[in-house]
Amino acid sequence: MKPGVSFSGGVLFVTLLAAASSLLLAGVERWTAPAVERARAERLKSVLSLAYPGFSAEEGIFSSREVGNDLLLLEAETASVSREPAWALIVQGRGLWGPVELLMVPDLEKRLLRSVTVLEHQETPGIGSRISEREYLDRYSGLSLERPVKVDALTGATKSSQAFSSLVEQGRKVLIKEVP
């Protein structure tokens, strides 16, 4: 450590270090961007193949279109026997602490919500993060698309789960309007 450095000298050092760090991080971000994007697409496919048994991860070039602010409707041809198209909706919105991204899969014949999966969230680990666990998400599967979403909040994570519920409700409204 260098004692007795003048204040301006210290500020200069920290500024230089910050500039170097930012440059380095920007480089890392650019370098890893394609791989992160690929990992994200893989995850989407695996979530969809869970919801649609006929859907194999190899196929599935989605046509996607934006259906409003931060809502993305996906459609993919499946090679399954029924040739039913795979519909899914990605909703982005605010959780309690940061952006939440979730994927909703409808069951069009039965007019139900088949499954809800959290793709990304920034809720408190161990508390709000429980919104991304299956045990909680399963409360949404099987809910009717025709009625407003009503699911009990998680004890201890009331705000996070309320925010999450309202996102699902927002998605439900889009699904009944946009999907045939």
């Binding site: 450590m1 260098k2 050092f13 760090s21 380095l24 890392v28 890893t32 992160v36 990992a39 161990g126």
Partner: protein
């Protein structure tokens, strides 16, 4: 060689950051439900410690005394954010399992504590040695906790089933309280043995 190995193992035991220093407990509880997660976290912390030790030790004669904490945090953050990004890109599954705990390595007291106590004052090689021993000590404890938690909670090790199918899974072990039990037992045993 034997002597060196002995003193190395002794240092691992005597100055273990988790069981002796009681640092990094939060992450030790959070990411040890499976061995693979504990290993990934351990590797991340060792890497961050080594990188931080090298850079801080290299810059120790230029880092202004009264801004040292700021500088240490900045250097740690760069390593952690880079590591987090690499995990997201090439190990998305582990990245999702570890969640925010990777980012929280920045606030891991083991790193800040060692930087303040050692890297800011010592030459590069001793700093790297110190970083390695402390990182290894942390990883060792994490793996030990995860071993018992995964074995009892899921009946598996590194994802492979080793217990019979009929194994009654101790779900308490998969939750945070299970980690508390195992960690406190480890701390107790370590204390008894040191005396």
């Amino acid at each position: 060689m034997r002597k060196h190995l002995r003193s190395f193992l002794l240092a691992l035991h005597r100055s273990n950051p988790v069981t002796v220093g009681l640092l990094g407990i939060c992450s030790a509880l959070a990411v040890t439900s499976r061995l693979s997660n504990a290993l990934a976290m351990g590797v991340m912390v060792i890497t961050v410690l080594l990188g931080t030790a090298f850079l801080i030790s290299l810059l120790r004669k230029t880092i202004p005394d009264r801004m040292r904490l700021l500088v240490v945090m900045m250097i740690v953050s760069v390593f952690v954010i880079t590591g987090d990004r690499l995990l997201q890109a090439w190990f998305p599954l582990i990245s999702r399992e570890l969640g925010p705990y990777v980012g929280l390595i920045i606030t891991n007291c083991i790193i800040l504590g060692r930087a303040e106590a050692c890297y800011l004052r010592s030459p590069i090689l001793p700093s790297l040695g110190d970083a390695f021993i402390h990182g290894l000590g942390y990883t060792g404890v994490l793996l030990a906790i995860a071993f018992f938690r995964e074995l009892l909670g899921f009946g598996s090790l590194f994802g492979f089933m080793v217990m019979p199918e009929s194994w009654p899974r101790w779900s308490a072990m998969t939750l945070a309280p299970g980690a508390f039990f195992v960690l406190s037992l480890l701390i107790w045993i370590g204390k008894e043995r040191r005396q």
